[in-house]
Symmetry: C2
């Protein structure tokens, strides 16, 4: 049974892209296959996995605008790592919002396009931009689960409220199956008072505590270094915190199939 997971948080810079890249890679180390779908016009997941798209190559933008004309092999690319594929993004995607404004059913474009590709992976992870715009709504209409990276900082914690409201609205309207599969604390530095405080808030707040992954992603310079060499950290340095934490998260996600 294929699991389709949106990785989302409207707060910027909380580790959405880092989580998509590294969780995807770690899933393949658990002998499962993963497809990354990059739904951010900044295409950081695409770049972070070493993909340089030729000038007019099709991307997720073409899939959303005109899926009928595309076959799977046109848009689903292999990365250098086995069992880890990607549907890449380009800056063209930032035009989709305005171009689709008058289209009927514009929120279901991604969903219909992916169904048409007849995909076969254990996991699909979809990276989202830091906004609750049409692109993110498309992702929420497509996925069954939402995985929420939350930086251990007050601004990121405060953003959860609005995100949960949006997910509830999507569930009532366009996608009744959508549920939060978990919140993962990210960029955690146990030496800072504010980091420990926010982690404690996440783990004790009635609204979030049952959704928290046990795994906490620690602040780890190797993760930033791995982004610079365009590799997942799990394929960059085996002894790093990043390697350990994302492997733990993958194991926990795979084990956590029961929905809450």
């Amino acid at each position: 049974k294929m699991r389709c997971i949106a990785v989302a948080n409207e707060k910027g810079g909380v580790g959405k892209t880092v989580t998509v890249i590294n969780l995807g890679a770690a899933i393949t180390l658990e002998n499962r296959s993963a497809l990354i779908v990059d739904m951010d016009p900044q295409a950081n997941a695409t770049k972070g996995l070493g993909i340089d798209l030729p000038e007019n190559a099709p991307s997720v933008y073409d899939l959303i605008m005109d899926s009928k004309s595309l076959k799977r092999d046109d848009v689903v690319l292999n990365t250098r790592w086995e069992n880890l594929d990607i549907i890449p993004s380009t800056v063209d995607l930032s035009g989709a919002e305005v171009e689709l404004v008058d289209e009927e059913g514009r929120e279901n474009r991604l969903k219909e396009a992916l169904v048409g590709l007849d995909l076969d992976y254990d996991f699909i992870l979809i990276d989202t931009p830091p906004s609750l715009s049409l692109l993110t709504v498309n992702v929420f209409a497509t996925a069954k689960e939402v995985l929420i990276p939350c930086q251990t900082h007050p601004y990121a914690f405060a953003a959860l409220d609005e995100l949960f409201d949006t997910i509830a609205a999507i569930r009532e309207g366009i996608n009744p199956d959508l549920h939060v599969s978990g919140i993962v604390a990210t960029l955690f530095d146990k030496r800072t008072r504010v980091g420990r405080k926010v982690l404690n808030q996440l783990q004790s707040d009635m609204r979030y505590r049952d959704l928290m992954f046990n795994t906490v992603i620690r602040h780890n310079t190797t993760i930033a270094e791995s982004a610079d060499v365009r590799k997942p950290v799990v394929f960059f340095r085996k002894s790093s915190f990043g390697y350990i934490d994302y492997n733990d998260l993958a194991e926990e996600l795979i084990a956590k199939t029961g929905f809450s």
Copy 2:
């Protein structure tokens, strides 16, 4: 002469809000007045300055949707610190994008509203969300300068390209006066190779090097702590890196009146 500055970068989590709050505060330590305009629906600048808006109090959303009915004292609030005022935001602002989609001149709403308030400050700093959407376009139509915080990391560096294209398009279309007053490196940690590498790229790239502020904002836990107590770091701990760096940035900005 009032200087109106947009603080913008589509990449999330690069320190836009931290810069607006702390640069605004540091400007008041140079005996000048500053108004913060919070144009992010997440309202982090509003919360970060200790403002808790009552349920139906007017905010920047009301100003954009119906400015004629509002007087200055309805929307311009004092903070606890002298010469530092704010036009607050609320989550309602996220509705403006859709609500204004068919309105003529929707990109000039903020500009017309601020003109109508007859403001008198040395500096106006406008915080933006991490996207190049209608809200950010409104800010680019209003401001004369753009100050770009750029985290010393590959993803943030890569985002500059698109941001400069957008600013060029705004300059040709709706606001010929708009120019980049500077790029400030943020979250800099000199101990990391990738941090030093990206700072070097910023300081040597033909497109950006003449725009770089000499001041570099260092990664500094006190800044995150100050956000937690909802104070600018310059009013929270006088001996911290954050205090030093944002004061340096304010001095440099005030001195840098010549346009490039």
